[in-house]
Symmetry: C2
Subunit: 375 residues, 2 copies
């Protein structure tokens, strides 16, 4: 208001002014519904750790979301609370099927997740959809941030959709997603979908936290020849050729056979599971049930032969070691001393003035000397 | 002699002894040819760094071998000399084609290398064959140690065969092989073959130091379904189906088509090169020229589009960063304090008593505290 008044005042007080007179308009109602504001204020009250844990175990989505916000926060005190919440929720986690979904942009992942999600909740399951997209920024919106593409799922009471933590190192984003996953499981979600965009390193991170890895493809050379990183096809437990509708049905069937033949040539997975290839149409909602049934088959197959549990244990260990390794590297490469010296060493290596190994050892010496001197 | 005499003396002096009398036999000639012993002694004389470098640049195979022995030595003073030699040889290195060869045991790698090597030297090239096999022990002999399988190549004056450095961490073995490669190039070998056994992580190490990656396969399900690690097929610039001889020719042709179809489905390599599939018979020496011609095609293709040089630069950087990362990890995991604590933390993680991330951060705190306290 004040700005507007000042301007009007200025005009009114200007004796030379002969133009239209602008009166003060009607006063605006508060832009926030006071009842919602009150509720938000209550929600923002300081919960104790036990409040958080109880809320999560009760399946309170609001408290779950706030706890995940703590996980995603970069503030030390938030991190500390988050870690205590996770620790108390850990014994209640793990009772879910964790599914990774990837595919290049344009493969129809969002539409697929919408159709697949509705099918899963329709079967009486509770579904949480998380994402790992280190390139995303909250403001710009990751794929999942664009909930308009998941109209039905985003209002489904048995589905919980959480966009990727905002931009950061892959390690950081992956850690936050894996911790959120634990809280979602403790909150009673029995099916966790972790979505990632089919480029870069994030597939490996997702693959290391899921039971089942689903690759969405579309028929046609464009998709096969670009975008998807080498090695991702070999991670897949199931490849689904999406957009098998209209004129595309035949092409999709052909692609299915091609991929099936190719997968036969791959070495067998330690799970003892032979990767499957299916077709589906997320838009026409066909073939979606097949995918879910295949995932269930996989689960009973690997639960019977013990691979399911074994893999979960390996993943828990993996994340411990992976975090250590990442932090060791971060400590080194983030140090100013190293940042200052590394370009020069890199140049020497590229110009054959120094061997790669000598350069490495000289930098390491400088690093450890610096740590010791700091104390 | 002394021991034998004592025994005989004992018998002769024994009055109760009534058996056969054993006289001193003829004296044995020295078991080492004195001229060879003299030569060995001369060879073991202390060369100066410049002697080594000059010898290597002159293509002296004896001096090259001794320099590589210094690289492989675990003694600090040897390492120091080796690094200086490498540094001085670096500007003379790089002028070769570096070819990685892998394949499961039984694919006929040794026979292939023999036939391929003879073809390469027959074209007027000088070939060095190195190996990375972290599981090998010198005494037991790695594949290349078994030179009897390479009868012709091992006596070829234009070929130099060096077995894998003896057992150690993959990082260590790989580093030694990459350093040996530099010396071989400086010694005038223009074709370097690095051989590895088709299991485990060593393929990635080889792939990171070669220009061209060749995968040897044989027709038949046994090989496709086991042994070769997932992801290796996608590294190959050329797959050659070996043992395409006798009754196997048709099967090999069939396998070739299958692999060709499969490779079409892979995402394109950044080299812009489409991986090829060929058949060959190492025993009958057929198809070997095709493989060499394909490698030459690859080189001119990637030299033209700049990928060859770009990849070399990336590899040099890669080994600098890889060495740093490996050493950072080694420093951590080899510390007694960490060794003592890690099993307990692992258990807590596996029993859901502690999250993977909290365990990691606690161990890291202990590690850095310990480094600081040591000074």
């Amino acid at each position: 208001m004040s700005d507007k008044n000042k301007k009007q005042g200025h005009i009114e007080n200007d004796p030379s002014y002969k133009g239209l007179q602008v009166n003060s308009g009607i006063s605006q109602p508060p832009s926030i519904n006071p009842r919602i504001a009150e509720r938000l204020k209550n929600k923002r009250k300081k919960y104790s750790i036990d409040d958080y844990v109880k809320g999560i175990l009760d399946g309170d989505r609001g408290i779950l979301s706030q706890a995940i916000t703590l996980i995603e926060s970069s503030k030390y005190e938030h991190q500390k609370i988050a870690q205590e919440i996770i620790e108390k929720c850990l014994p209640y986690s793990g009772k879910s099927v964790r599914i990774g979904v990837t595919g290049v942009p344009g493969a129809g992942k969002s539409t697929f997740i919408e159709a697949f999600g509705k099918h899963v909740t329709g079967q009486g399951h509770k579904l949480a959809v998380l994402a790992i997209d280190p390139s995303s920024e909250r403001s710009k919106g990751s794929i999942l941030g664009d909930k308009t593409r998941m109209e039905e799922l985003s209002v489904d009471q048995n589905a919980y959709i959480r966009p990727s933590p905002s931009a950061g190192s892959l390690g950081g984003v992956a850690r936050k997603t894996r911790e959120s996953l634990i809280l979602c499981e403790a909150a009673g979600f029995d099916t966790i979908l972790i979505e990632t965009v089919g480029v870069g390193q994030s597939e490996t991170a997702v693959h290391s936290m899921v039971d089942f890895f689903l690759l969405i493809k579309i028929a046609g050379a464009g998709d096969e020849l670009q975008g998807i990183k080498r090695g991702i096809m070999e991670m897949a437990d199931l490849i689904s050729i999406n957009k098998a509708d209209g004129n595309n049905v035949h092409k999709a069937q052909l692609a299915r056979v091609q991929f099936e033949n190719a997968l036969h040539l791959f070495p067998q997975s330690p799970s003892g599971w032979s990767p499957k290839v299916l077709t589906c149409s997320a838009i026409e909602k066909t073939g979606i049930d097949n995918i879910w049934d295949t995932i269930m088959d996989y689960c009973s197959h690997t639960q019977q032969n013990g691979y399911f549990e074994q893999r979960r244990s390996e993943q828990a260990k993996y994340w411990m070691y992976e975090t250590i390794n990442e932090q060791l590297k971060d400590g080194f490469y983030q140090k100013q001393l190293i940042k200052d010296q590394i370009p020069d060493f890199e140049n020497k290596v590229l110009n054959d003035e120094m061997s790669s190994f000598v350069a490495a050892f000289k930098l390491l010496d400088a690093y450890f000397q610096d740590i010791k001197n700091k104390e």
